[in-house]
């Protein structure tokens, strides 16, 4: 498998609405990536787009290893479940101390927990959207 040879790549956990946008942004910047996705239907869609995908649970170190976490430069943890994100961040930090970990959080209280677990950057969809709406309201 070619992904074993990947290095300095980005791992994207979860190909939902957030993950999809992360991938889009990475492609636009010409950055190599591997997606980890649990849903077989989504996996076949990703394969159709000819992206590299690991089918399985991102909270499992086995799947993170298969995605080449030891040699990756960053990971985007974008699962639609705060608990799973927290678990993935913990596992990822365990496997690679130098990895840049960016994660999504839905609830405010999970934010600190993610940081404690080893995340370097947190994004909250509601907060980000609210900021955009305020910006739009302040126009004119």
């Amino acid at each position: 498998m070619p992904r074993q040879q990947l290095s300095n790549h980005v791992i994207v956990c979860g190909y939902g609405r957030v993950g999809e946008k992360v991938v889009e942004t990475l492609i636009a910047r010409g950055i190599k990536f591997v997606v980890i996705e649990i849903d077989p239907k989504k996996c076949s869609r990703i394969r159709e787009l000819s992206y590299t995908v690991v089918e399985g649970d991102a909270t499992q170190s086995r799947n993170l290893r298969e995605a080449g976490i030891e040699s990756a430069s960053a990971i985007a943890v974008a699962i639609d479940d705060d608990a799973k994100n927290l678990f993935t961040v913990l596992t990822a930090r365990d496997l690679n101390k130098k990895l840049f970990i960016a994660a999504r959080a839905n609830e405010e209280f999970v934010r600190e927990k993610l940081v404690e677990a080893g995340a370097d950057y947190i994004v909250m969809p509601q907060r980000a959207a609210s900021a955009e709406i305020i910006k739009e309201l302040e126009k004119e």
Binding site: R17, E20, K21, A128, L137
Partner: protein, 254 residues
């Protein structure tokens, strides 16, 4: 049953306490301060007189003709005077108690809120108190922007009021609720529910009601964005897409 009779019990208790307190204070103050009499019975006479008929208690004993002048022989008419006095006290007490209960029963906040809403102008209407709306309301409050929330669920609407925000309990896709929120003078309407269908319906209704208002809506799926614009939205946002772009840029940049 006890729930129904409770307010009346309160009223009667108030009357009793008011009457007794007034008479006691009167008697006590006459004994202590005026020095006219150190006798409790005499003091009650002055109290009754002062409460009911006195026009100038201070000068001599200026009591109207209704009560006999203080000659010492007043005890003969005391029975009538006491009954007369009590009757008047009860009436005064009853009126007072009713007035107090009327005052306490006015929902000051609701009345005030209604006045506020009527005069609302250039405000922002937030439809649906979702997680996004929760965050948005906090940000708007921090920026001291005026806004009103329309929330369908009565309990959630109350929770919004408890946060200290203005809230209308109603369907944000319904004309009536939007009218109540003064959409005609609003600066913007934000649809923040977690249903694309409700948001789109709201966008169309709002656009129909006010052609100039800025309509911002959230979309759950990227595919609905164009529909929202066609429905009349000025700005459509998918929070997850914003978050994804932010995550991607952050990783790509650093």
């Amino acid at each position: 049953m006890p729930v129904v009779s409770q307010p009346e019990n309160v009223t009667w208790w108030m009357i009793a306490i008011l009457v007794i307190a007034t008479i006691m204070i009167g008697i006590a103050s006459i004994i202590i301060f005026t020095g006219v009499s150190k006798n409790v019975l005499d003091a009650s006479y002055f109290t009754a007189a002062a409460l009911l008929d006195a026009s100038s208690l201070g000068s001599d004993v200026g009591i109207s003709a209704h009560v006999q002048p203080f000659t010492g022989a007043f005890y003969a008419v005391m029975g009538t005077a006491v009954v007369d006095g009590l009757a008047k006290s009860v009436i005064v007490g009853f009126v007072l108690a009713e007035f107090i209960s009327f005052i306490t029963n006015i929902d000051v906040r609701a009345k005030f809120g209604l006045i506020m809403k009527k005069s609302e102008k250039n405000h922002i209407i937030v439809c649906g108190y979702s997680m996004l709306a929760e965050r948005l309301c906090r940000d708007l409050a921090d920026k001291k922007r005026r806004f009103v929330v329309i929330e369908k669920d009565p309990e959630r609407a109350n929770a919004v009021r408890d946060m200290g925000y203005d809230a209308i309990n109603g369907d944000p896709t319904d004309k009536q609720a939007l009218e109540e929120a003064s959409i005609s003078t609003a600066k913007a309407v934000v649809f923040a529910t977690e249903s694309d269908f409700i948001n789109l319906l709201g966008v169309v209704t709002a656009r129909h009601m006010n052609n100039r208002v800025k309509i911002i809506t959230r979309a759950m799926e990227g595919s609905t964005v164009t529909k929202m614009h066609r429905g009349g939205a000025n700005f459509c946002i998918v929070p997850e897409a914003v978050a994804g772009t932010e995550l991607g840029s952050r990783i790509a940049g650093g």
